[in-house]
């Protein structure tokens, strides 16, 4: 056994022994007490001893354990001041009030064991000084024959009395009731309220039972202070006694609950392990939030190749600063950063819990990181796919423009020259030359027409000139079967218009080639930020998306624009191709 263990054992035995003695002292010296009341006051002290020892064993680094053991001894010591032994009376009267200051200390130090807030520290200094100063002053002026408040009528002699003055002692007792039980207890209640107000949601859940008990105890002191100046019947003070005992016993129990709660939370870890089996990478944060009991938890996954943290969606995750309002825990894997948790600062007091959760989730985190990586890559690929399609469309547009504005213009101009020359000759020249001119001009005209058809196929000029609606009309007019068109006249971006046009074009080609249809229809409309293009026919149906490579290419094209393509084709009920393309206006 270590020295600490021996010390704890000794303190336990001493506490038990002192408790028994304290019971005896009360029974012997307090005429108003009963067996029940004497036992209750000892049990209240012992509850601090038990809770303190448990806390000390479980969290050796936390001062709360030793502090609570100290509360136990201070509360027991308080009972020894009723003794008629002069030394015992003097010594224990002096330290008899320290117990209450220690209780306040425990409440304010919970759960970390340290009081870091400046206001709270000042308050505790004042409380300790008041708790010793007033008893000391009373002892200095005490007259052995004078009955002290709460004491029996037999004399108690102060060994350090300098001047015996009953008036001063009465004044000091009143003053103490006002400052100690009145002002300080009220301030304590206000401090607790402030603490709860400033606490994070998670901290509040841990704090409230203890603080409730502390406030109940403090309010009792405030009431006591008020009653000490009134002439109420003594029966009422009996109730106050039980109030105090219950509140004091509840306080260490609340702390024990807090400790058991942490253990309870650790049982979440085993649940977490089970749940992680079937948790989708995107829901990992939620599972961790439950296990750590912190709804505000944020999870960032480290992507080495992007040199940054990302969230489950693959978007950049900005790690908050580790400070008083937010705590940050790094999770490593094989010495490399794996993930980062941004969480409630109260979790700093439960490093084991965080560690256990991190350990349990490590594999899932590795998995989630892969998932995030893939998502990030997918985004890149999608962007590049859209760029490729845009580039191809742009290229088609450029070729069409070049053909029209370059070659075609030139050919038309050339043919015009020939026609003009033909007219100038006007039958006056060599008939062979005139025939040659004429046939060359005719050939050129045919070439111009073919070139126009070719350019149209590459990218319909009317799409740029007149918009999607007009281009679809033209498409329908050229089809070898009746096609009705119901299309919006609205203009969209060239990318969206081209995508929709080629959907209609390819679908209509399929109708002509495969469907055996007698009629078809094309519809294009804007629907809530989407352009919906639909081509349906009354043909055989049964077209499979996988069959036509044209449809496959179409699907690629539409998806590259972030849209989707659906082919409904039941045998015997025609085919309907429906493309949906995002077109944010």
């Amino acid at each position: 056994m270590t020295r600490t263990r021996w010390l704890q054992l000794a303190l336990a035995l001493a506490g038990v022994l002192l408790g028994l003695l304290a019971y005896r002292v009360q029974m012997d010296n307090l005429p108003l007490t009963t067996t029940a009341r004497s036992i209750a006051s000892v049990v209240a002290a012992w509850s601090f001893l038990v809770a303190g020892l448990v806390a000390w064993r479980r969290r050796p680094d936390n001062r709360l354990g030793p502090l609570m053991v100290a509360v136990c001894f201070a509360l027991l010591a308080r009972q020894f001041r009723y003794s008629h032994d002069d030394l015992a009376f003097t010594a224990f009267f002096l330290i008899g009030e320290l117990g209450y200051a220690l209780v306040a200390h425990v409440a304010l130090a919970y759960p970390s064991g340290r009081v870091t807030d400046r206001v709270e520290r000042v308050f505790l200094y004042v409380a300790y000084v008041v708790a010793v100063a007033f008893p000391l002053a009373i002892l200095l002026f005490h007259d052995g024959e004078q009955r002290l408040r709460y004491f029996d009528s037999r004399p108690h002699d102060s060994l350090i009395a300098v001047v015996s003055d009953g008036g001063v002692v009465d004044f000091l007792q009143d003053a103490y009731a006002v400052t100690g039980y009145g002002v300080l207890a009220t301030t304590f209640v206000l401090l607790i309220g402030r603490k709860l107000l400033l606490a994070t949601p998670r901290a509040r859940r841990i704090l409230w039972p203890l603080l409730l008990a502390a406030v109940v105890a403090a309010l009792r002191a405030v009431l006591d202070s008020a009653l000490s100046f009134s002439s109420r019947p003594p029966a009422f003070t009996v109730d106050l006694f039980w109030w105090q005992v219950i509140a004091l016993t509840a306080l260490p129990l609340a702390i024990l609950w807090g400790l058991l709660r942490a253990r309870l939370a650790r049982s979440h870890v085993s649940e977490l392990v089970v749940h992680l089996e079937e948790t989708a990478p995107g829901d990992l944060r939620d599972e961790l939030a439950v296990a750590l009991e912190d709804p505000t938890l944020e999870l960032g996954l480290w992507l080495p190749e992007r040199d940054e943290y990302v969230d489950a969606q693959g978007a950049t995750f900005l790690v908050p600063e580790d400070g008083p309002t937010r705590a940050v825990t790094l999770i490593e894997h094989d010495g490399e950063p794996l993930a980062v948790l941004a969480h409630d600062p109260t979790l700093r007091d439960e490093p084991k819990l965080v560690e256990a959760v991190a350990a349990a989730a490590r594999l899932a985190l590795v998995n989630a990181r892969l998932h995030a990586e893939v998502r990030a890559q997918l985004e890149t690929v999608q962007e590049s796919r859209a760029r490729i399609v845009s580039a191809a469309d742009e290229e088609r547009r450029r070729i069409e423009r070049d053909l029209h504005d370059g070659a075609q213009q030139r050919l038309v101009a050339l043919a015009l020259e020939l026609r003009a020359a033909e007219r100038q000759l006007g039958g006056s020249g060599d008939p062979n030359v005139e025939r040659l001119l004429s046939s060359t001009a005719d050939e050129l005209q045919v070439a111009v027409e073919e070139l126009r058809e070719l350019a149209q196929g590459i990218h319909p000029g009317i799409l740029t000139q007149g918009g999607l609606g007009h281009a679809l009309e033209q498409l329908a007019a050229r089809a070898p079967l009746p096609v009705t068109v119901d299309a919006t006249d609205e203009r969209f971006t060239p990318e969206v218009e081209a995508t929709a046009y080629f959907v209609a074009c390819e679908a209509l080609t399929n109708v002509v080639k495969h469907a055996g249809a007698t009629r078809a229809s094309i519809a294009a409309r804007r629907d809530d930020g989407l352009l919906v293009i639909e081509v349906s026919d009354d043909g055989n149906g049964g077209a499979e998306e996988s069959v036509g490579s044209g449809l496959r290419g179409l699907t690629d094209r539409v998806e590259a624009r972030g849209g989707s393509l659906v082919v409904e084709s039941l045998a015997g009920s025609g085919t309907r191709v429906r493309g949906v393309i995002p077109c944010a206006s």
Binding site: D405, I462, Q465
Partner: protein
Amino acid sequence: MRVVIAEDSVLLREGLARVLTDGGFEVVAQAANADELKKAVRRFKPDVAIVDVRMPPTQTDEGARAAVELRAEQPDVAVLLLSQVIEATHALALVSESAEGFGYLLKDRVLEIDDFLDAVRRVGRGGTAIDPEVISQLLGRRREEGPLDELTPREREVLELMAQGLSNKGICEKLVVSPKTVETHVNSIFWKLGLLPAQDEHRRVLAVLAYLRS
């Protein structure tokens, strides 16, 4: 008849100018883009402006837009649009207000020089010239059985020429028939389609186009 040509291809512009000059027109100005066109029209007040739909800088439809603007600004200047591509709905959208002094032809039509010069002249006199492609698209789209099916092939031909904006005289030259025959055909067409006989040839075009479009 005074003409302004707006066409960004120098070769074609020059060719057009020569053909028009040879055909007895006076080419008062040549423009290479929409801005030059507007300036030239404001300055020379020509009878006809022959305008390429696609011109710099965007090569989309600035010619058409400039034409719409000019028609609103100076209704007495006739406009003949030349387009690389023809699409009926787009064409009709441009004629919707009035067909007077307006033409819309496929660019290749300039190669049929006589027809082209005739179209320029017609438009310059406040008439109409609609590309045969527009008419055939309008006719081709009609799939339902209707009064059009009751027309004889000859009547159909006359209808198409009417829709293109040709006068009775133009039609009889084109079909090589007597004016009286053409008049008979026209009356028969109007009767079969249930249209009121039009007072003049300008309105006749709009009525026929409106019928075909419906």
